[in-house]
């Protein structure tokens, strides 16, 4: 009966032991796991919506939800109830099937990521050998859902919004994947569990803070959060791709977005700050859940804070920032990291598997990587400063009138 203690992983064994058909037991255990993993994010999202609204309210000097339940905790249930009983309007000329499927696909594409999130040393939906790639691949289905939603609504604004969103999402996928390559390279595996275990001695964020930063920025853009929230640029696109949606389907798009932000925070915690790793986690695996969610919550709150404090950037700036800054920097970072990593390996500074959990043994390697990253950061910032100075100089020469404008305290920015 020893194996029945950890019920989730040995459910099949337990069932077989109590006399069930092995094939059926196998299937039932998979089904149990699936239901648990698929339910988890939906339970979490109910709480996330409350956190999001409360946080936004506090930043904007409001109270936020405070009527339904203690601290307004039950507000989400009230909202859901309202959304369910709302009339659902399908615009004339909409493509019914695609129109109805799009919000569901957009939520499913987020929930699917949870299948590879390792929440403790023992608990993971499916420890795929290509887990990290699975995360990117599933994310690209979300892009498709938005495209479908925008097209099927039969609305110019929706389609225009969808086009912009898709252009944004696919663009920011490039630096995302480039920075994702870095932890994969360090760990030598794409399995999420393997990536977490490879950080036993040292978190990957120490080896390559630049990759972590780029990953964080890209995920922020992937979820369409400020300053990259052109997805729901109310002032220019009315609402964007979901303009025609109402009722529960509209709610699903938002639930999917809220969940996506938190999921990405978790993925960030797994890839760069050791996921469920923490003291005594191997003795008490359940602690891993707490560690992972604590780390994830920090990055989630950071993302919330960025969202609530930064203004939206223009779409041309958005694209330039990605293609002319993030992508080149992520490529340079990948090359630098690959070079330093190989050098460290060749001179034998990298500890072998026998002391993989030794923090001190990783220190020399970490210092070299860190210095390399900092050097690259300095170089990039220097180049940026030169570009900025040149732009300012060119501006001052071509439009002398601007100088006068700039002196006035309330001058509007000159459009170009």
């Amino acid at each position: 009966m020893q194996e029945c203690i950890d019920i989730f992983n040995t459910f099949a064994g337990c069932l077989t032991a109590s006399g069930a058909d092995p094939g059926l037991a196998q299937f039932l255990s998979i089904l149990l796991g699936v239901v648990l993993v698929a339910m988890g994010p939906l339970v979490i999202v109910i709480f996330l919506i409350w956190v999001e609204r409360k946080y936004a309210a506090r930043v904007q000097d409001r109270l936020g939800p405070n009527r339904v339940g203690p601290f307004g905790l039950l507000q989400t249930f009230a909202d859901a109830l309202k959304l369910i009983t709302k009339e659902d309007i399908t615009p004339a000329g909409a493509d019914k099937l695609i129109y109805n499927l799009a919000p569901i696909i957009s939520v499913v594409s987020v929930i699917l990521i949870w299948a590879v999130v390792p929440i403790s040393p023992l608990h993971i939906g499916a420890d795929l050998s290509i887990g990290a790639l699975y995360f990117v691949a599933v994310g690209s289905i979300g892009t498709l859902a938005i495209m479908m939603a925008g097209w099927s609504s039969n609305n110019k604004y929706a389609l225009l919004g969808a086009f912009r969103v898709v252009a944004q999402l696919v663009s920011y996928e490039v630096p995302l994947v480039f920075s994702l390559l870095v932890p994969v390279m360090f760990a030598g595996t794409m399995s999420m569990q393997g990536i977490v275990e490879a950080q036993l001695g040292m978190w990957f964020i120490v080896f390559s803070p630049l990759a972590a930063l780029i990953f964080f920025i890209s995920t922020q853009a992937e979820t369409g959060r400020a300053p990259f929230d052109l997805i729901e640029a109310e002032s220019e696109l009315v609402a964007g791709y979901n303009i025609e949606y109402s009722g529960m389907k509209f709610g699903l798009f938002f639930a999917g977005e809220f969940l996506h932000v938190f999921t990405n925070a978790l993925i960030f915690a797994i890839l760069f700050t050791g996921g469920w790793l923490g003291p005594f986690v191997y003795q008490v695996p359940a602690l891993g859940i707490i560690y992972l969610f604590a780390k994830g919550s920090i990055f989630y709150l950071l993302s919330l804070h960025l969202r609530n404090t930064l203004p939206r950037i223009r779409i041309d700036q958005l694209m330039s920032f990605n293609w002319k800054f993030l992508v080149p920097v992520s490529i340079a970072n990948l090359i630098l990291v690959a070079f330093l990593w190989k050098v460290i390996q060749l001179i034998g500074l990298l500890p072998g598997p026998e002391n993989a959990s030794d923090f001190l043994a990783h220190l020399p390697a970490a210092i070299i990587m860190l210095v390399g990253n900092l050097a690259l950061t300095v170089v990039v910032l220097q180049m940026l400063r030169n570009v900025g100075r040149r732009a300012v100089a060119a501006n001052a020469v071509s439009t002398p009138a601007n100088a006068e404008l700039d002196d006035q305290p309330y001058s509007l920015p000159v459009p170009h």
Binding site: D95, I98, L128, S129, I130, L133, Y134, V136, A137, V138, S140, I141, T143, L144, M147, M148, W151, L159, F163, V166, V170, E173, G188, M190
Partner: protein
């Protein structure tokens, strides 16, 4: 052939693949065609997983569904080609149908069944339990004796394609 879970899954993915393919070539609306194409490509990804190539399956989703399908939808929108389309087939569609069907029969009767079909020596071929992994693929890519040249040529091809496509697609400037 024994009737097990593996063959059922194979059957499901085959039906998805072929059904999506049929939808792609027969749908009047090109956006629907693109959606069918995506369904079909998902089926192919499933077949890759059954063939123990999960990396290629993930790449299939990432490249085809995440990038090529999006590009096709962009192109459809850019050319407004799904509207005002009265006739989707050309004059030779019946001939094409015959030729395609003949090709299929030829492939099946002429090559697949005689060489690999049931009853032949190759039919008994059983795949090994162990297969090479994605790590082996990576090693093969940069091994000087194996595929390092194709590896670089692929990069060159992509560069050429990108430059060419930009030159062609851009407005006059």
């Amino acid at each position: 052939m024994e009737f097990n879970i593996h063959s059922i899954v194979f059957l499901i993915f085959s039906v998805i693949t072929l059904g999506g393919g049929l939808g792609t070539v027969t749908s009047r609306n090109l956006i629907h065609g693109a959606v069918y194409l995506i369904v079909s490509l998902f089926g192919v990804a499933g077949l890759f997983i059954l063939l123990s190539a999960p990396f290629l399956a993930a790449i299939q989703v990432l490249v085809y569904i995440g990038a090529i399908a999006i590009l096709i939808i962009f192109a459809v929108m850019l050319t407004r080609s799904m509207t005002r389309m009265t006739e989707i087939y050309n004059r030779q569609w019946s001939l094409s149908l015959v030729v395609s069907a003949l090709l299929f029969v030829l492939l099946l009767v002429g090559i697949i069944l005689p060489v690999w079909g049931p009853g032949t020596a190759n039919a008994a071929l059983q795949p090994s339990e162990l297969v090479a992994t994605t790590v082996d693929l990576g090693v093969a890519f940069v091994d000087g004796n194996q595929f390092v040249l194709p590896f670089e040529v692929a990069s060159l091809l992509l560069t050429a394609a990108m430059i060419g496509a930009i030159v062609i697609a851009r407005d006059r400037d």
